[in-house]
């Protein structure tokens, strides 16, 4: 992933709307990916991406010349996504816990973690990528979010636990079960099947 694409802005004179459009086009996929993978919801990801770029617009004078604009955008997208999930979780926590969806696996049960050695074989690359995204989006939030933060955002376990305000032990359990659930989903795709249309 290239988080720091080159942004073409007009070199002389004040910044123009075209400059911001170019800026947005350079980063919108990265921002949207971050939000979509964290929330697991395309509509929410688009709302969050819009909010990220509106914040960027307010600071465009600074961001247009900053070499770390991509990092700033990614941080804001991550924070807004986590805040959104936190708000949602607080609102619905009570009801959600009536029927917690853990991908059909008991929290205290053994973890079945299949090998991915066959996953690469016999599947079209774009189809494989679509399967991965879909499997990731279908994980329960408490497994998906740590996985995304660890594997895509490259945060450490300690950082993730602190950010999500959960214990390190709980985080490691969620990550382990999330990986196992994801591997199971992916291996289903390795079995003979109808082509998946994202």
């Amino acid at each position: 992933m290239n988080d720091e694409p080159h942004v073409h802005t007009s070199t002389a004179g004040p910044l123009t709307p075209a400059d911001f459009t170019a800026f947005m086009r350079s980063y919108q996929d990265m921002v949207y990916s971050t939000a979509a993978r964290l929330t697991g919801n395309q509509a929410q990801a688009e709302d969050i991406s819009q909010e990220v770029f509106l914040k960027a617009y307010e600071r465009f004078d600074m961001l247009s010349v900053s070499p770390t604009a991509g990092g700033w955008l990614k941080t804001v997208a991550t924070n807004l996504s986590l805040n959104h999930l936190q708000r949602y979780r607080n609102r619905w926590r009570f009801f959600s816990e009536f029927a917690r969806d853990d991908g059909g696996e008991r929290e205290d049960g053994p973890v079945e973690f299949p090998s991915l050695e066959n996953f690469q074989d016999g599947i079209d690359q774009s189809e494989k990528r679509a399967w991965v995204e879909r499997a990731l989006a279908e994980l329960p939030e408490h497994q998906r979010v740590p996985l995304v933060l660890f594997h895509f955002e490259e945060m450490s376990y300690e950082e993730i636990a602190k950010r999500l305000r959960i214990s390190l032990a709980k985080l490691k359990t969620d990550v382990l079960r999330g990986r196992a659930a994801l591997a199971r989903e992916l291996m289903k795709s390795a079995a003979p099947h109808e082509p998946f249309n994202a």
């Binding site: 709307p17 459009t21 949207y32 819009q50 619905w92 991915l116 995204e133 660890f150 895509f152 591997a183």
Partner: protein, 151 residues
């Protein structure tokens, strides 16, 4: 992040699969939405924007007026309490004392009335409240499952 994080080769393989994922393509509507929202915000009159975006003159005038209003309030209060309005303030406090006695008598009367209610009625009222709360909870949980979780 290095491979030493993954003692299990299956975890390492999964990490490789995830890291190999390309960025997702943002919907075409995103750019249009952002531009439209920027235009909408730009068209708002200054008084509907945040204080930081108000014209400098207006911000200065607002701060000056706020300071004047605060000074008038403080000076007025001091004048009432220490100046010729002291008698008026004392009368007001006496009036307030009368109101306090009235409220106290109403509360005491209410407490006496409630004390006469038999325990059976209290149990019935408590049951109705509990049933209502449980009903609302059920409606909320059903609405969540039907309307929200399916989205």
């Amino acid at each position: 992040m290095t491979d030493e994080h993954f003692d299990d080769p299956r975890e390492k393989a999964l990490h490789a699969v995830l890291r190999g994922q390309p960025v997702l393509r943002a919907p075409a509507s995103l750019e249009q939405r952002v531009r439209a929202e920027i235009a909408r915000r730009a068209e708002r009159p200054w008084w509907q924007r945040s204080f930081g975006e108000w014209p400098v003159m207006v911000r200065g005038a607002f701060l000056a007026l706020s300071g004047c209003a605060a000074c008038i309030c403080i000076a007025g209060t001091l004048a009432v309490l220490n100046g010729p309005g002291a008698e008026m303030a004392a009368a007001f406090l006496r009036e307030a004392g009368a109101w306090r006695l009235l409220v106290q008598s109403v509360v005491e009367s209410g407490a006496q009335m409630l004390a006469r209610v038999s325990p059976g009625w209290w149990w019935l009222a408590g049951g109705i409240v509990a049933a209502s709360a449980a009903g609302l909870l059920g409606i909320g949980a059903t609405a969540y499952r039907l309307l929200w979780r399916g989205r």
